[in-house]
């Protein structure tokens, strides 16, 4: 039986004779809410720094696309200009290139990342720890350095691989969209592997053994048992790689050649707009990229939510 006096309910000390049993302490006033010190200090600094470095600057970008200035004296003209820049043929080509190639690169990473994660989790082979460590290299290496190296490797003039491909097949990699694809594949690789590894490590061996007992061959087991279990993680990894590739600039600027309409990615176009002092146009393109990133993040979160929900049902 639980008897709580009205005094104890308000958080005061129970009077003599009150029988308190497993009752959560009711906080009295603001001071008791946070037991550990530093709530206002840490949260205050966190919010201040977050606002100063991230939120206010992003807000400034949004406002720039709707604020009249000397060149565009009223709202309709500003919005008109933002719209014109965002739907300009050169911009549309750059979106197609940025998003299309990022998507293809993410798929390539999905394929090779899956194999790499599977190999690292399931097999024993010499050099495994080194391979595992190297997976993070694109994350640790400055993108411009990676871009420079890839440009050199795939250049048709004296590049180690590029020259061979050009002389034998007539293929040109550096300064074409193929080069961009290679650079985007490079930077996205760790995301797929690192998302898949923990999920693959927790796969139940019993399910595979049961499938084998029921007469499934290895391929059937893979398709019907393993793939469905790791599919959400694979999709998440691919989307992370995609999200990362869309905004990439440092490695692309060297290898793409930045030819308008052909090999110019959206971030490069933003820098071109800034160099032309078209701040409103640059802000407009920035807004398009922000919205796209927002949709990618929302999709990943939905996916995670769906996966957790399904696991709870199962």
């Amino acid at each position: 039986m639980t008897v709580i006096s009205s005094e104890a309910k308000r958080g005061g000390t129970p009077a003599h004779g009150d029988f308190v049993f497993n009752q959560p302490r009711v906080p009295s006033g603001r001071r008791r809410k946070h037991i550990l010190p530093g709530f206002h200090l840490t949260l205050g600094f966190t919010l201040f720094y977050l606002s100063a470095i991230v939120l206010v600057p992003l807000l400034a970008l949004l406002l720039k696309t709707v604020t009249p200035n000397a060149d565009y004296p009223d709202l309709s003209k500003v919005v008109r200009h933002v719209f014109d820049v965002a739907t300009d043929l050169r911009s549309l080509d750059s979106y197609r290139l940025s998003f299309g190639l990022s998507f293809v690169a993410a798929l390539i990473n999905g394929f090779f990342g899956f194999i790499a994660a599977w190999t690292l989790i399931r097999y024993k082979f010499p050099g495994k720890k080194i391979v595992d460590a190297l997976v993070d290299l694109p994350f640790a290496m400055p993108t411009s350095v990676a871009g420079l190296a890839l440009t050199q490797i795939f250049s048709k003039h004296g590049g180690y691989i590029g020259q061979v491909l050009f002389n034998w097949f007539g293929w040109q990699i550096s300064y074409t969209s193929w080069g961009i694809l290679i650079a985007l594949t490079f930077i996205g690789f760790p995301f797929v592997v690192r998302t898949l590894q923990p999920v693959m490590a927790t796969l139940a061996a019993e399910a595979e053994e049961a499938a084998a007992c029921l007469g499934a061959n290895r391929w059937q087991t893979f398709r019907r048992v393993i793939l469905p279990a790791v599919y959400p993680a694979l999709l998440t990894g691919v989307m992370l790689a995609f999200g990362r590739a869309v905004g990439e600039y440092g490695s692309i600027v060297f290898i793409s050649g930045n030819i308008p309409y052909l090999t110019e990615i959206t971030p490069h176009l933003i820098i071109m707009k800034l160099e032309e002092y078209d701040y409103v146009g640059a802000a407009g393109l920035g807004l398009v990229m922000l919205l796209m990133s927002f949709f990618i993040v929302a999709a990943i979160n939905l996916l995670q939510h769906f996966v957790i929900h399904r696991r709870r049902l199962a």
Binding site: G38, L58, V135, F139, V145, F191, Y249
Partner: protein, 279 residues
């Protein structure tokens, strides 16, 4: 007989072969190429390039930027992790999502936003101009852009670490009469120091190698560019551009290899969580 969870040897060797080929072409080969190209004109040329006026100015600026950005973001990371993991408050999930924004946003946008505020046509441009304060194309602008791009690195590593450690020990220290500073330095910090180091190292590597944000904010003024931008300048230059660019790039390569070694060391000792994760 083969175990039910094991693959055919042919599949096994094929997959291992593919992984090695992929890792070699995409990861090992570029590293070798940087070293080979850097020493293309001999060691003397390599050393001269590194000691050239342009390289030294760029290296100095890059170090100064990292010196400002890494402590700021570390302070933020620790304070954000403390607030998020030790207290319940409304909007906590939103706060964590907001911290991660810079991971999703293109680095160029990280530079663009500050250009829109402090640039000549920006919000504060005229005011700054009349007062003779320069932010864009100068040190403060580069610091801001770099801080934006590396913003979540320490926080994102520390939050899961401190969450898994709980707050029981802090509460115990509190009942024993510790004050806030004693609590942090004697109880919390010893538990999270490796996580802090891990975050700082990643933050530093990214800060020193940042290209997109800085190329918006640093412009092309010769004594106001960082190492990655100086690499681009060498690359575009006509006089032995490639070997010079690769020579300077080899410094950043060295930095990233050291970063990777420390990162892997900390992860193998399970002192830190991998930063690339979804939960």
């Amino acid at each position: 007989m083969r175990r039910a969870t094991a693959d055919n040897w042919l599949v096994r060797y094929l997959l291992i072969g593919i992984v090695f080929a992929f890792i070699f072409i995409f990861l090992v080969f570029p590293v070798c190429v940087i070293l080979i190209e850097a020493l293309h004109n001999g060691f003397g040329f390599y050393w001269d390039t590194l000691c050239a006026e342009h390289s030294l100015t760029a290296i100095r600026l890059t170090l100064l930027v990292a010196l400002a950005v890494v402590p700021l973001n570390t302070l933020f990371g620790i304070s954000a992790a403390w607030a998020v993991t030790h207290f319940q408050f409304r909007g906590k999930a939103l706060l964590i999502s907001l911290i991660e924004i810079p991971l999703w946003v293109s680095p160029v946008i990280g530079g663009l936003v500050f250009a829109l505020i402090f640039g000549r046509q920006g919000w504060l441009g005229t005011w700054l101009d009349t007062h003779g304060i320069q932010i864009i194309f100068a040190y403060p602008g580069i610091v801001l852009g770099t801080a934006f791009v590396t913003f979540p690195f320490v926080a994102r590593g520390l939050i899961p670490l401190m969450q898994s450690q709980g707050k029981a020990e802090e509460e115990a220290a509190l009942t024993l009469g510790a004050n806030g500073w004693q609590l942090f330095w004697r109880v919390t910090f010893p538990k999270i120091k490796w996580g802090v180091l891990y975050g700082m190292i990643l933050c530093n590597a990214r800060a020193m190698g940042e290209f997109g944000a800085v190329s918006v904010l640093a412009g092309s003024v010769e004594d106001r560019i960082t190492v990655p931008l100086q690499i681009e300048q060498y690359y575009l230059g006509l006089d032995q551009g490639m070997p010079r660019a690769f020579a300077l790039a080899s410094i950043l390569l060295f930095l990233s290899v050291v970063t990777l070694a420390i990162k892997v060391g900390l992860e193998w000792r399970r002192l830190a969580h991998n930063i690339i994760r979804t939960h």
